[in-house]
Symmetry: C2
Subunit: 207 residues, 2 copies
């Protein structure tokens, strides 16, 4: 643990260093599985090597602190390559898959999914900052695919988006040493979704 | 709250009534959002109107109590109607959708998803008792569809199963007053999955 005192004099203003230490402490604790209910300002202060008043000067309560801490993680989606829908969807699902292997990210998803009932403000802001931009990235790729004629003109974009993201979350959330996420999951998901499950004799004979 | 004393004399052996009160108290607390970490044997005993020793006579620790309580809920999947794969898949997804509206079930899913790291034994048993039988029900419907020729002979059953279950969980987990689950979600999911997203000119001209 690096305390504020130890890291003094590294060139950044003291208040900025304190803020970073507080945010890091918050994210570390969440990453270790501490729930928002269990998280205390005092514990964050101890871990960050600052006084509680330093935290309260900046954040009114722990919900605000958690939301701001989560926001600093910014999980950007890559710009879609734009060659074809299949490649873009696979790339986005790969981002989700590789993120899930980091414990911090897993715990953050947990908070979003499980503490929504207790901390509705936190959930609402997390949804705006993290969840919705991701959904929108998938929607845009799917809509572009409809526009280029790669995807069906009557595709239900909302449902298509939830099938891809949902299936990846289903695997990553349930994963663990005994249940690893298959390396080729993104490709397999996208190919099944694009082809469809139904056996179409005319199509299969024709191709 | 019905205590053991109040419900005495209703015809069931005292020990069976006590057990039911303990399990109900456990499920109620979990349903209210109490995490396994937070749950204490003492609180369960108070709520059930029994002494702590009554609980410890039956369960060695709270993990065992929680698993046995969850197991009593048994969430059976209906026998598939067997007319066609589409109808069976819609029926199964409808079961998942209606269950999600009950808070107890939502919280139980949360435990399974979020406390896996802390309580691996609990998670393993929950997985055996609740998660795997559901997955297997979907797999069987999909495999039968392949056998009858309704679905592609080379369908990736594991991926297909996770797309359907994952998409429904994605919606039900993220739902709430501001984000209701669409009434027709099961139908829309199954139809998109069966048709596939890709626009196939030959097929669409032919049909």
């Amino acid at each position: 643990m690096t305390t504020i005192q130890e890291s003094a004099g590294r060139g950044r203003p003291r208040s900025e260093r304190a803020e970073k230490a507080i945010v890091d402490a918050t994210l570390d604790m969440i990453g270790e599985g501490v729930t928002v209910s269990e998280l205390s300002i005092e514990a964050v202060a101890n871990r960050a090597g600052v006084g509680k008043t330093t935290i309260y000067r900046r954040w009114a309560n722990k919900e605000d602190l958690v939301v701001d801490s989560l926001a600093t993680l910014r999980l950007p989606m890559p710009e879609p390559g734009g060659t074809d829908v299949r490649a873009d969807l696979i790339e986005y699902l790969e981002v989700m898959r590789s993120e899930s292997s980091e414990l911090r990210n897993r715990c953050i998803t947990n908070i979003a999914l499980n503490e929504a009932d207790r901390f509705p403000d936190l959930y609402r802001r997390f949804r705006e900052l993290v969840i919705e931009p991701r959904r929108e990235a998938f929607r845009q790729v799917l809509r572009r695919g409809v526009a280029t004629g790669e995807l069906r003109p009557d595709l239900d974009v909302e449902v298509a988006m939830s099938m891809l993201i949902g299936a990846m979350l289903f695997h990553t959330k349930m994963s663990g040493p005994a249940y690893p996420v298959p390396d080729d999951l993104a490709v397999r998901l996208v190919d099944e979704a694009l082809r469809g499950f139904r056996y179409d004799v005319t199509r299969n004979v024709a191709s």
